[in-house]
Amino acid sequence: MTLHVTFRVGNARYVVPAAEVLHLESYETATHVPGAPAYVAGLVQVRGRLVPVVDLRIRFGLPAIEHTIDRRVVVVQAGTRVAGLLVDSAREVLQIDDAAFEHPPELVERQTAGFVKAVATVAKRLFLLIDIPRVLGEELRP
């Protein structure tokens, strides 16, 4: 059993392992980074350090939305890289059996450009496990 942080982008539910999450933060606004890709919302200061924020909606090819109180930034650590993932809402943590994860269908894998590593169904709810490094991309490398 592994704790996962769940969040929503659009109408899909995604999970990341809680071990890769540093903490969750409310999202007010981000400082725009000139020359950064379009999916990079900007820089935010979290607990004394500057974290680049990737807007998953843009990254996943969804249209941008107005700011809501539910939007949160999931601060993740992939190796040495720390980045924030801007999601529509993240209000739950969930213990998911590792065996529950399966490879996504080939079509889905190809379609999502490798962003989804596995899928798991918990209490009839489908969660997509994302590949953080791939989601973060080369641009965010220091």
């Binding site: 704790l3 942080v5 809680a18 071990a19 903490h23 969750l24 993240a90 209000r91 943590v93």
Partner: protein, 853 residues
């Protein structure tokens, strides 16, 4: 008788003459010588005288011979004249024959006329019947006939034609009169010629008497002359005989002429009666013609009028039918009108009741409007209250909205807190997980905190939802109340308007009430009027029905009138046809009159021929007279010579008493001859008187003919007057009824006149028959004249022969007389010798009394 005395004297005289001298010289001796001497001297003187006389006698004998020759030539001329006369008489006879034929023709024509008149009379009777019927029919339709006034122009034209015809007739009559006048003139000429002939005859008679006496004297004288004059005497006897015969013949001629005169007188009388009959016939004919023309004109008029009437009546009938149809239509229309009026009355009553209802309704409406006004007033008050409540509610709602917004803010805060709490719990969970086993309890607490926070968030979310709903409700309520306010305002306004409308309605209802009252009055008035109209329509219907019925009856009556008009038309046509037939007959009659005129002209021509014959007769008579005069002059000459001879003979007879006695006897005979001549002259005078009477009769005929001409003129004038009358009659268009009656009357008169005309025609026929008879008698008389003329001619020829013999005898006598003269000369010489001897005897006293130197 004269011949017997003259024949007795010559036998005694020749013997007496020679013995006279010796007898005279014998009485005494003494004085006898002287006496004898004187006697002888006287004898010698007488002998000388006798010689002279004989010489003169001889020359006279020669002259007598020449005269006898002349007389013969004259006799021959007379014979030629007599021949001409005979020829003329024959021509006269032929002319009279043609006159007779003409008279027969005339008679035939008159008979035809009579039969035509009888036909005409029958026709007129038919016409009279028709006219009476027509008069009755016309009487019944007389009022309609006033329209016929127009047709009288045509009648005027007919009258003008009548006038023209009358004028023509008058012209014909005038021509006839002229012809008659000319005939009269010719008759006068004939009369004068006859007078001349009479005078000539008289003169001829006298001449012949003279010739006779002269001849007798000559005969006596010549007979008394000597035996040698026997041939002369015989010739003279023959001449005397012939002359006597001639006288007898002339007597006969005279008698025949008298007969002819009587016949002519009779003819003249017949002509007079014929003229009278013709005049009567002409007047009757004129009367009938006028009447028939009048009738014809009237019939034409009537026919035209009746035709016009019939047409008018037919038109009237058609018009009446149309009127009837119109009347029926009017009747049906009136019925429809009456029905409509009744319906109108019903409708009006309905309207009246409706108006009454309307009145009631208007009262109700007024009541309701007043009640509505009250209600509206209340509504307005309610609406004001509602408005007030609404305004209050709106403010409450706004307040409530404000509180709800406050609640929302609070809920937002709560939600924010819950969100932070969730975030904190999640981070705690993540921290706890990182802590592993040490952080297990903490993870549980964090989870519970997250759950509470989630619940709180959920509750806040619910509250937010509720408050949002509350806020929406409040907003809706405010909007509603604002709307309600507006509506309430509008309602108030509308209510106010409604109140105003109601007051207007009330006012209108009041007005309506007045109007309805007016309408009610008007409708009741209308109802009354409509009832009157309905009654009038009913009356109109009844009357129009009556009118339709009456017009129907009228139409029937007019149709019956049209039928009677057609009958009238037929009758008028019949009348017109009959009248036309009559007119035709009359025209034939007129034509016949023309023929009559032609016959009259023929008669005139015959009379002219007769006149020519008479003129020729006169000329012949003149020639005869000339010849007779020549004969007479010759005879006169002879007588003169004979007188000379007689003187000589008287002288001789003086010498001899026997001679004297013989001369006395001769004188007696001459007296007898003179008496006989006187008788002959008397006959001639009678003849002349008869001729004068004939001339008188001819003058009377002339006068009659002039009267005829005058009558013809009067007829012409009367025809002109009739024409004027016809023209005037044409103007009397208004008096159709009277004219129609006149037609009947005129037809009756016409019938009467035709009867008269028939009678006149019969009389005329009788006259013409008499004329024919007279003409035949005249022809007979003329033939007798011709016969007489032939005998005269024979006698004249005998006279001529005798005159030739006489001439020859006269020559012989002249020779004898010459020998007598010679002898007397010898005698004278002897006497002279005797005288010488006696002178010698009586030488003493009367020696130188030689007288014979």
């Amino acid at each position: 008788m004269t011949t017997s005395s003259t024949t007795s004297s010559p036998s005694s005289n020749p013997t007496a003459a020679p013995t006279a001298a010796p007898n005279g010289a014998s009485p005494t001796a003494g004085t006898r010588g002287a006496d004898l001497v004187r006697s002888v001297q006287g004898t010698a003187q007488r002998a000388a005288h006798i010689e002279d006389a004989a010489t003169r006698l001889a020359s006279a004998g020669a002259d007598q011979a020449a005269a006898a020759e002349q007389a013969r030539a004259a006799s021959e001329g007379m014979a030629a004249s007599v021949d001409e006369t005979a020829t003329a008489s024959e021509q006269l006879a032929r002319s009279q024959g043609s006159v007779a034929a003409t008279a027969v023709e005339l008679q035939k024509g008159l008979e035809t006329t009579a039969s035509g008149l009888q036909e005409l009379a029958a026709s007129v009777t038919t016409v009279r019947k028709d006219a009476e019927q027509l008069a009755r029919s016309t009487d019944s339709t007389a009022t309609v006939l006033e329209q016929s006034a127009r047709t009288f122009k045509a009648t005027a034209a007919n009258s003008a034609e009548l006038t023209e015809l009358s004028t023509r007739l008058a012209t014909s009559v005038t021509e006839t009169a002229t012809t008659v006048t000319a005939t009269a003139a010719r008759g006068q000429d004939t009369a004068s010629t006859i007078e001349q002939v009479a005078a000539t005859t008289e003169e001829m008679s006298a001449g012949l008497g003279r010739i006779a006496s002269d001849s007798k004297q000559v005969s006596d004288r010549v007979t008394s002359l000597s035996v040698g004059l026997k041939g002369v005497v015989a010739a003279l006897e023959q001449v005397a005989q012939d002359t006597t015969d001639n006288a007898a013949s002339v007597d006969e001629t005279s008698a025949t002429a008298e007969e002819l005169a009587r016949s002519i007188r009779g003819v003249a009388e017949l002509a007079g009666s014929l003229e009278g009959a013709a005049t009567a016939s002409a007047s009757n004919l004129t009367e009938v013609a006028a009447s028939v023309e009048q009738v014809a004109a009237t019939a034409e008029k009537s026919a035209a009028t009746v035709d016009g009437n019939a047409a008018t009546i037919e038109q009237l009938a058609r018009s009446a039918q149309l009127v009837t149809k119109s009347a029926q239509e009017v009747s049906s229309l009136a019925t429809a009108n009456a029905t409509a009026a009744t319906q109108l009355g019903a409708v009006t009553r309905k309207i009246s009741s409706v108006v009454e209802d309307a009145k009631t309704t208007s009262v109700q409406v007024a009541t309701s409007a007043r009640a509505g006004g009250v209600t509206v007033g209340r509504t307005i008050g309610g609406l004001a209250k509602i408005r007030k409540s609404m305004v209050e509610g709106a403010s409450v709602m706004k307040d409530m909205g404000k509180r709800a917004e406050e609640i929302g803010d609070i809920v937002q805060t709560i939600n924010l807190i819950a969100d932070r709490t969730n975030l904190l719990s999640l981070n705690a969970s993540i921290e706890a997980a990182r802590a592993g086993e040490h952080g297990r309890g903490f993870a549980v607490i964090a989870e519970e905190i997250r759950a509470l926070a989630d619940r709180a968030a959920a509750a806040a979310s619910d509250v937010t939802k509720i408050v949002r709903g509350l806020q929406g409700a409040a907003r809706d309520a405010v909007a509603s109340s604002t709307e309600g306010l507006r509506i309430a305002d509008e309602g108030a306004e509308l209510s106010e308007q409604a109140r105003e409308g109601l007051s207007t309605i009330l006012h209108g209802v009041e007005l309506l009430d007045g109007s309805i009252k007016n309408v009610s009055g008007a409708t009741s008035e209308q109802d009354r009027v409509v009832q009157a109209v309905a009654a009038a329509s009913a009356r109109l219907e009844a009357e129009s029905r009556d009118i339709a019925r009456m017009t129907g009856e009228q139409t029937q009556a007019i149709q019956s009138v049209a039928r009677s008009a057609n009958e009238m038309r037929a009758m008028a046509k019949q009348t017109r046809d009959a009248t036309a037939e009559q007119a035709k007959t009359l025209r034939e009659l007129v034509k016949f009159n023309t023929q009559l005129t032609t016959s009259a002209e023929k008669v005139a021509r015959a009379m002219e021929e007769q006149a020519t014959g008479a003129t020729q007769l006169a000329r012949a008579a003149t020639q005869m007279r000339t010849a007779a005069q020549r004969t007479a002059s010759s005879m006169t000459e002879q007588i003169r010579i004979a007188g000379t001879m007689a003187t000589g003979i008287v002288e001789v007879a003086t010498a001899t008493q026997r001679t004297i006695a013989g001369i006395a006897e001769q004188a007696t005979g001459g007296n007898e001859i003179a008496r006989a001549m006187e008788g002959a002259r008397k006959h001639a005078v009678q003849n002349a008187r008869a001729l004068a009477e004939l001339a008188l009769v001819t003058k009377e005929i002339d006068a009659g003919v002039r009267d005829v001409a005058r009558l013809a003129g009067e007829v012409s004038k009367a025809t002109a007057e009739q024409t004027q009358g016809a023209a005037a009659m044409a103007k009397d268009a208004d008096e159709v009824r009277r004219i129609t009656k006149q037609t009947a009357r005129a037809v009756a008169e016409q019938a009467d006149a035709l009867d008269g005309l028939a009678t006149a025609a019969t009389r005329q026929i009788t006259s013409v028959k008499a004329l024919s008879r007279s003409t035949t008698e005249q022809v007979t008389a003329t033939e007798q004249i011709s016969q007489s003329m032939r005998s005269v001619r024979a006698r004249v020829r005998e006279i001529t022969t005798a005159l030739a013999v006489q001439a020859r005898s006269a020559v012989t006598s002249a020779a004898d007389i010459a020998s007598v003269a010679h002898e007397v000369g010898l005698l004278r010489i002897a006497g002279a010798e005797q005288v010488t001897a006696v002178a010698a005897l009586a030488a003493g006293p009367a020696g130188s009394g030689e007288p014979a130197a």
